[in-house]
């Protein structure tokens, strides 16, 4: 950055870097350093310059992107969950090695090497937090919601998971255990929610419609049959 840029623009550029951090994970190779695709480099370059020159406000840009946060990425997570609900052998394989099992499906071209699937049961509810935002499995879930990256959510989720869940209108029986999984650089988590009652005989496609992003983070439940999508 040249000397003609004031500190504010530099801060904005750095803020952009953090926004982009959510998509910087290298899924295809193991390296000890980060890697960006040629396209990502060009997008970052343009966005940084436009910000420094004052053509683009990161907050305004973020607002546009957030408006589409649930519409980015292939959203394979719902299909994976629906398959696990209908295919016991796949479910076993998925819980054993998430990345490997998802890789066998063929339609997921990029999934992290260490995607761990944790199963919700009548006794235990799982919830995922991320302290390093580069580790969110957006190919599975689409973009993370804003609150997911917010420091208050992350710290409260660890200290007071029941309280955080209550904020999302998720109330669980008192004796149900809640496990909080903290994503790291190497391991990312996907919650396998419980299959809703009243869906006996449903096809995978029908079931996938019920699987919400929040249910795969553990801050929500799948839709109930008949509820509006």
């Amino acid at each position: 950055m040249g000397p003609d840029h004031d500190a504010r623009n530099t801060r904005q550029a750095w803020a952009i870097a953090h926004i982009f951090a959510a998509m910087s994970h290298d899924h295809d190779h193991h390296h000890d350093h980060s890697e960006l695709s040629e396209t990502e480099l060009r997008v970052r370059a343009l966005e940084t310059i436009l910000t420094e020159k004052g053509y683009v406000e990161p907050a305004a840009l973020d607002a546009i992107i957030q408006a589409y946060e649930t519409r980015i990425g292939p959203h394979n997570g719902a299909r994976v969950v629906a398959k696990a609900w209908t295919d016991p052998a796949f479910k076993t394989a998925l819980l054993e090695d998430g990345s490997k099992a998802i890789g066998t499906l063929g339609y997921v071209s990029r999934v992290g090497d260490h995607l761990v699937v944790v199963e919700n049961t009548p006794e235990r509810h799982n919830m995922v937090v991320c302290t390093l935002c580069s580790c969110y499995p957006w190919e599975m879930l689409g973009l993370p919601p804003v609150w997911y990256k917010a420091a208050p959510y992350r710290s409260r989720a660890v200290k007071d998971p029941r309280g955080v869940l209550a904020d999302f209108d998720v109330t669980l029986p008192k004796d149900m255990e809640i496990r909080v999984w903290d994503s790291t650089a190497e391991t990312r988590f996907l919650v396998l929610p419980m299959r809703p009652a009243g869906t006996e005989g449903w096809s995978e496609e029908q079931l996938a419609e019920l699987v919400t992003r929040d249910s795969m983070i553990g801050t929500g439940f799948p839709r109930k049959p008949g509820a509006p999508s």
Partner: protein, 125 residues
């Protein structure tokens, strides 16, 4: 207000990939490229007809060069259009773009796997 902006864009540019509820993106960077065009239009850098013509040119060029035109490359053309238009309008030169691209590459290279990548002054060699 961001969805109003987007509605104007999708009305003006019929080729934008979408479903019944609006634009869809295959990857986060596509949404960033989309949002940058919306913002620059809002700033008056170009009009939508101007954008549509530039994008059509870009797609024609790509097809002539062998682009399969399956829709998967749509936002690559979109990004190339952005880069071309900002250069033509004197907003950002191709040379500056290249310098920043290299700086981001340098930043990624020195950032340990899994950490947020930040651009620092020393990344500009």
């Amino acid at each position: 207000m961001s969805t109003t902006l987007a509605a104007a864009a999708t009305a003006a540019i019929p080729s934008i990939p979408r479903d019944d509820d609006g634009p869809v993106f295959r990857a986060p960077w596509e949404a960033h490229a989309f949002a940058m065009a919306l913002t620059l239009h809002e700033r008056g850098v170009f009009t939508w007809p101007e954008w549509a013509a530039a994008l059509a040119d870009e797609i024609k060029r790509a097809q002539a060069a062998g682009d399969p035109d399956t829709g998967e490359t749509y936002y690559l053309h979109w990004l190339a259009t952005l880069e071309g238009l900002v250069a033509r309008k004197g907003v950002v030169s191709a040379e500056t773009l290249h310098r920043y691209r290299d700086a981001w590459d340098h930043a990624a290279d020195r950032t340990p796997h899994g950490k947020p990548i930040e651009l620092r002054p020393e990344d500009f060699g």
